[in-house]
């Protein structure tokens, strides 16, 4: 019975033998996590290059002949879709979810390792299908990452021949991959925790990933269904989303469909998707702040409830993306209200992060710098969200650079800051090597200041009325010429930020090859993943005996304790009797 595998598991799991079963067709959650992460980072770099190309056109219009308006729209679309789905979702859940959940809850692996392996290979297939659209006639779709019909599938939009179909197929494959992984994460958290690891003792990282996965399992169906219907509209000529259309003076064979239906379905997926990305980031940053400030997280229970509440609320706010699409005014009222309510648990989390830092023993390590940087970028992105959540303020700002600045700040830069914090934080455990500190600090300051120089001025451009997604501006008297010089400076800053990421990649490679060996627990953290007998953890994670958990994850600077941290698997008896002997007994 699979049921009996959890309790008092004492058997040592043997690692598989050959290179192929060990690193390629591996069912070990840690290997799968690394496969997910490397694929996501690779495809993220593609999206980074696309954004640099977009900025080149916007900063210096017409200077680069290879960026025409068709390519520009394709870059916008692919950049957005790759970053949101194939980088952030895949790296946070497929990468960090896979690596951290079993280690943090004290399990030997995910509950269904084979399904987990299948999840990665399906994800890789979706990425390959997506990238293939760069090489088909007509190129990738340029419909915007929201893929709004009817334009997404009609001639005139770039990639309406094959690109849009590959995009829809790739998304459907991704959803299958996500479902296989997501079922694993949820079941592992619910059913496979080690002895003593109650739900209310789990690190917030696990809580964030857990709730985000549930959101994904319930939100991705909307995207799947809309992808199926749009695919049918395009291929067999159904009219789910297509009204009567006269295109280029010719009446098309469509009629009677509802384009607004697509928007509702897309955003019923799209808004929870924001929190699929944000909640793991919230959880991870909570743990990193507590560890590097040597202080327990402020209001742990409140933080858990805030994650759950945000997750629930995220399903009833979707139409705030559609204020200008045409809705019953009472809907606008409803969605504005729910949107502003979601700010309450979110603000609560921010207060708790700041209060965690207060009177802490703050170590300005690289992960900590990124975590604190996240608080800044997230507060800025969150506050502009309050503007856009109000219908009357949103109407003039909709589809301007204000929106671009807002969502890049809140769900672009902020989760990426946490991703960097997480990589710097857990790299010693994953690889056994320390990342180079100086390069890391340079990477942080370049990224942090650089992203501010990129996205803060965009809010101002938005107030001027500069529309988003436009390839070039012409004959717009209400926009002062100085807007262009601002655009040029944004481009320069964006290119610097992009170069900083190459520095980061270099740091990864250099440290992996020549870095200093890391100790088992370099940050003196309490959570279980740092207490493994081997670094990096071996197959089966915890050696012959699974750890038993005696305390929550935040026993930092406990008065009377010998060290300023007490690992979760130490019983009170091992801590109360002072000194090394007790620690040795507990297998520390």
């Amino acid at each position: 019975m699979t049921m009996s595998a959890g309790y008092g598991d004492t058997q040592q799991h043997d690692g598989p033998g050959s290179f192929w079963t060990r690193y390629v067709w591996s069912q070990d959650h840690k290997v799968i996590a690394i496969q997910y992460s490397l694929t996501a980072i690779f495809v993220g770099l593609v999206a980074l290059v696309l954004s640099a190309l977009m900025r080149l056109q916007l900063g210096f219009p017409g200077q680069f002949s290879f960026i025409d308006s068709t390519h520009y729209l394709q870059f916008v679309t692919m950049h957005g879709m790759i970053m949101v789905v194939y980088l952030l979702t895949a790296l946070l859940l497929g990468g960090f979810g896979n690596y951290l959940i079993p280690l943090m809850v004290g399990a030997r692996d995910m509950v269904f390792p084979f399904l987990n392996m299948l999840s990665y290979w399906t994800y890789l297939l979706s990425v390959l299908v997506l990238l293939a659209s760069f090489f088909v006639p007509g190129g990738p779709t340029g419909a915007g990452w929201t893929l709004y019909p009817p334009q997404a599938i009609l001639p005139g939009t770039p990639g309406s021949e094959a690109g849009i179909l590959l995009m829809l197929i790739s998304l459907a494959i991704f959803i299958v991959a996500f479902t296989m992984g997501g079922l694993n994460y949820v079941c592992t958290v619910l059913q496979a925790r080690t002895r003593g690891m109650t739900l209310m003792r789990m690190p917030l990282t696990v809580w964030g990933i857990f709730v985000a996965t549930i959101l994904g399992l319930l939100a991705f169906p909307a995207l799947l269904v809309s992808a199926v219907m749009m695919f049918l509209d395009k291929t067999v000529g159904t009219s789910f989303f297509m009204p009567v259309i006269i295109s280029l003076g010719e009446q098309l064979d469509y009629g009677g469909g509802s384009p607004i239906l697509f928007q509702h379905l897309f955003w019923f997926f799209g808004h929870p998707e924001v929190y699929i990305v944000a909640l793991p980031a919230f959880g991870i940053v909570s743990d990193i702040l507590a560890t590097h400030a040597r202080k327990n997280i402020f209001g742990y229970r409140m933080m858990v409830w805030a994650i759950v509440a945000i997750g629930g609320l995220s399903f009833v706010v979707w139409a705030h993306h559609m204020y200008v699409s045409g809705m019953n005014p009472y809907f606008g009222f409803f969605f504005a209200t729910t949107t502003l309510i979601i700010a309450v648990p979110t603000a609560l989390k921010v207060y708790n992060w700041v209060l965690t830092l207060w009177q802490g023993n703050i170590h300005l390590t690289v992960p900590m710098l990124f975590a604190i940087g996240f608080i800044f970028t997230f507060v800025h992105g969150g506050l502009t969200g309050l503007f856009l959540g109000n219908v009357v303020v949103d109407l003039p700002l909709s589809d301007t650079y204000f929106v671009v600045g807002h969502f890049h700040m809140v769900m672009g830069v902020s989760p990426v800051m946490v991703l960097f914090a997480a990589i710097y934080h857990w790299f010693p455990k994953v690889s056994g090597k320390l990342l180079h500190d100086g390069l890391g600090k340079l990477h942080f300051w370049g990224t942090f200041i650089g992203t501010y120089l990129v996205f803060l001025p965009m809010h101002y451009l938005g107030f001027l009325g500069v529309p988003r997604r436009y390839y070039a501006m012409a004959g717009t008297d209400f926009i002062p010429a100085s807007a262009q010089s601002l655009n040029s400076s944004i481009t320069v800053a964006a290119l610097v930020v992009a170069l900083m990421q190459l520095l980061f990649i270099a740091n990864l490679i250099i440290s992996l090859r020549w870095g200093k060996a890391a100790s088992a627990n370099p940050w003196h953290a309490t959570t279980l993943e740092w207490q493994t007998p081997q670094t990096p953890p071996a197959h089966g994670n915890f050696g012959p005996q699974l750890p038993t958990v005696y305390r929550w994850a935040y026993d930092y600077s406990v008065p009377g304790a010998r060290d300023d941290f007490i690992p979760q698997h130490l019983p009170d008896s091992a801590v109360a009797v002072d000194d090394a002997q007790a620690y040795a007994k507990a297998g520390k």
């Binding site: 789910f240 305390r551 026993d555």
Partner: protein, 224 residues
């Protein structure tokens, strides 16, 4: 010393309810496989709900008249036109298959393996005959000139939504038939003799779900 989350002993009211529920090593007293099936079915429920909501939306947005389901789906039996004749039989068969599945689960838990295998095979046969009748109904509609993109009886969305949603459900039934056959074969071979026969119940969960979805599709497509 060990933090606020360990205050279960002193916790009162709501707090203690949460602690009770969160304190177990296993949140639900079911096996990994059964829980996974439940969560998968929850996600699948969202898929079918969104399909049906989309169908309702396009039915409202369609500009041409919506065909009368009783007339579209009538069948001439012994010279009499009977509305919804085939559909009534199909629905009866599928619901009967849920019954045979439930009995199979019961026999499996009573360790009467052979009977469980036979009943699972019966369920699979009923499911396959449902798919066959659906194929017949599709062919009849197609012969009447209904296509996903055109419908001589009115709104084109009628055919589009019908083929898409019954097709998606039919795929679920077909996958279920294959799944049941695989489980029945492994059950007969003795693969589960050591681990117990819970897998029969897990596959039954899926089968009941597919039946339940059909009830909604039936109500919204044929009775509305």
């Amino acid at each position: 010393m060990s933090g606020q989350s360990d205050s279960a002993a002193e916790a009162k009211g709501w707090h203690s309810v949460v602690d009770d529920w969160a304190a177990d090593q296993r949140t639900f007293r079911v096996s990994w496989g059964k829980l996974m099936m439940w969560i998968f079915l929850l996600g699948d429920t969202f898929i079918f709900s969104i399909f049906l909501l989309s169908y309702m939306t396009v039915r409202l947005s369609a500009t041409d008249a919506w065909p009368n389901a009783s007339q579209v789906f009538e069948l001439v039996v012994f010279g009499q036109t009977v509305p919804l004749f085939l559909i009534a039989i199909m629905t009866f068969i599928l619901i009967t298959s849920s019954g045979t599945m439930a009995i199979a689960v019961s026999f499996a838990y009573r360790k009467q393996k052979q009977l469980a295998v036979y009943l699972m095979l019966a369920t699979a046969v009923l499911g396959a005959s449902f798919v066959a009748m659906q194929a017949f109904e599709w062919s009849k509609l197609i012969a009447d000139g209904v296509r996903p993109w055109v419908n001589p009886m009115g709104a084109a969305q009628f055919g589009a939504a019908f083929f898409m949603i019954t097709g998606f459900h039919g795929l679920h039934v077909s996958a279920g038939v294959i799944y049941l056959l695989i489980v029945a074969r492994k059950l007969a071979r003795g693969d589960y003799d050591q681990r117990g026969y819970e897998i029969v119940e897990i596959s039954g969960l899926y089968w009941h779900f597919v039946d339940l979805v059909w009830v909604f599709i039936f109500a919204f497509f044929y009775l509305w």
